[in-house]
């Protein structure tokens, strides 16, 4: 992950409000938002002004049937309960920052722990945000991710004796990802960003990790 100086990150607010940050910077900035009340206030203010620009846009009218298409698609969609209740979400429903992972996982795990009480799962906080629920030799990743840059996907790994095994691909949003590989004490679970389709071996920096 890239690191930025504090002063540098504060300058990102206007670009963030205009959706003008590059994907990596957006991601880094959203992590920062979780820790910075002043930045959230500033972003809310700047968003409001940026939103005014929407009213300035000229263009044709949408197709008369767009409304019906949206309603049909909405009705066809199962309204599954959000697995991880969001304590705080920024402005986006479908894209939550890694930054909120720790926060939302902390809230979500209360419910998880209750529903899984008999199974006595262990909850391991991951470096980089998010949590890992370990239940026997099964592990589930609970974390929120920004949308990956175009052509990229998140990939989970189970690392044993420095040998990573691919353990599943997943997209942005708040995810509850059962790992495809079993785990045992001493293993490490990690997440990287890879080209769409996944990789056999990690090729990028580890975004989050935890020892089982």
């Amino acid at each position: 992950m890239m690191r930025m100086a504090q002063s540098e990150i504060h300058e990102q607010a206007a670009a963030y409000a205009l959706d003008a940050l590059d994907p990596e910077d957006r991601w880094t900035y959203e992590r920062h938002l979780d820790t910075c009340d002043r930045c959230r206030e500033e972003v809310a203010t700047l968003r409001e002004i940026a939103g005014e620009l929407a009213y300035g846009a000229e263009g044709p009218e949408p197709s008369p049937d767009l409304r019906e298409r949206i309603l049909e698609a909405a009705k066809a969609e199962p309204r599954t309960a959000t697995v991880v209740p969001m304590r705080r979400r920024w402005l986006f429903p479908a894209t939550a920052a890694v930054a909120v992972a720790a926060a939302c996982a902390a809230v979500g795990l209360g419910l998880w722990a209750n529903s899984l009480r008999d199974a006595q799962p262990r909850v391991v906080a991951m470096d980089g945000g998010g949590s890992l629920i370990v239940e026997g030799d099964q592990a589930t990743l609970v974390a929120c991710f920004d949308e990956p840059p175009a052509g990229k996907t998140y990939e989970a790994w189970v690392i044993e004796d420095d040998r990573p095994r691919p353990a599943g691909l997943f997209a942005g949003g708040c995810n509850h990802v059962p790992l495809e590989e079993s785990v045992e004490p001493g293993n490490t679970v990690a997440v990287t960003l890879e080209d769409a389709g996944g990789a056999d071996q990690p090729t990028s920096d580890i975004l989050m990790s935890a020892d089982v």
Binding site: A15, R47, E48, G51, A57, E58, P60, F92
Partner: protein, 199 residues
């Protein structure tokens, strides 16, 4: 709603709602959050046209713009129950979702990037039944933009309507990244003053 909201002219939808004693935008969004699809239709009636224009301005393609609007409304449908934790007005929240969808799509559509962004937008066909409040508001925003210093206006337009990232902007304009950031920040601040003075 938000303690941090800038005082600007109220959302069109909400203003209409007050006049007719209809549900406020917040109430409609709450109903959407409960899974009320009639409420989703109402939300579309209030913001769909505006959302489409915004998406079209960015994407310059009717089919892509409709995709962006549909994805955005479905995203709202899925997560409206989380809205109450937001710090934004419903209109700002929805337009923000639409904007980000459109920008993400335009960045995926690499072929579009080779098109000149200064191309004049397709003239608004301005439907006969277009809401006068919306029309006036569009005129006010466009007028405010023309009053901005040229470099600030250019930065805001290329970023917000063009979907360029700040580093693409810096490269395109041949100025340091810090200059681009300053122009965007100053531009938004000035726009706020101009619009506040206008109302």
């Amino acid at each position: 709603m938000s303690d941090y909201a800038v005082t600007l002219s109220p959302a069109v939808g909400r203003q209409e709602a007050d006049e007719a004693r209809e549900p406020t935008d917040e109430q409609v969004l709450e109903a959407v959050g409960r899974g009320d699809d009639d409420a989703l239709g109402e939300l579309y009636d209030r913001f769909g046209r505006l959302a489409f224009r915004l998406a079209f301005r960015i994407l310059r393609d009717r089919a892509l713009a409709e995709d962006a609007v549909q994805e955005a409304f479905l995203a709202v449908w899925r997560s409206a129950d989380a809205y109450k934790r937001e710090r934004a007005k419903p209109s700002t929240w929805i337009l923000t979702v639409v904007h980000r969808r459109a920008v993400d799509i335009v960045r995926r559509e690499q072929s579009r990037r080779s098109e000149p962004l200064e191309v004049a937008p397709e003239p608004s066909v301005g439907a006969a039944d277009e809401d006068a409040v919306l029309r006036d508001r569009r005129a006010a925003v466009q007028a405010a933009l023309t009053e901005l210093p040229g470099d600030q206006r250019q930065a805001l337009e290329l970023a917000y309507y063009g979907g360029l990232t700040q580093s693409e902007l810096a490269e395109r304009l041949g100025v340091p990244l810090g200059t681009v950031k300053s122009r965007m920040f100053a531009g938004l601040g000035r726009l706020r003053e101009l619009l506040a003075a206008d109302t």
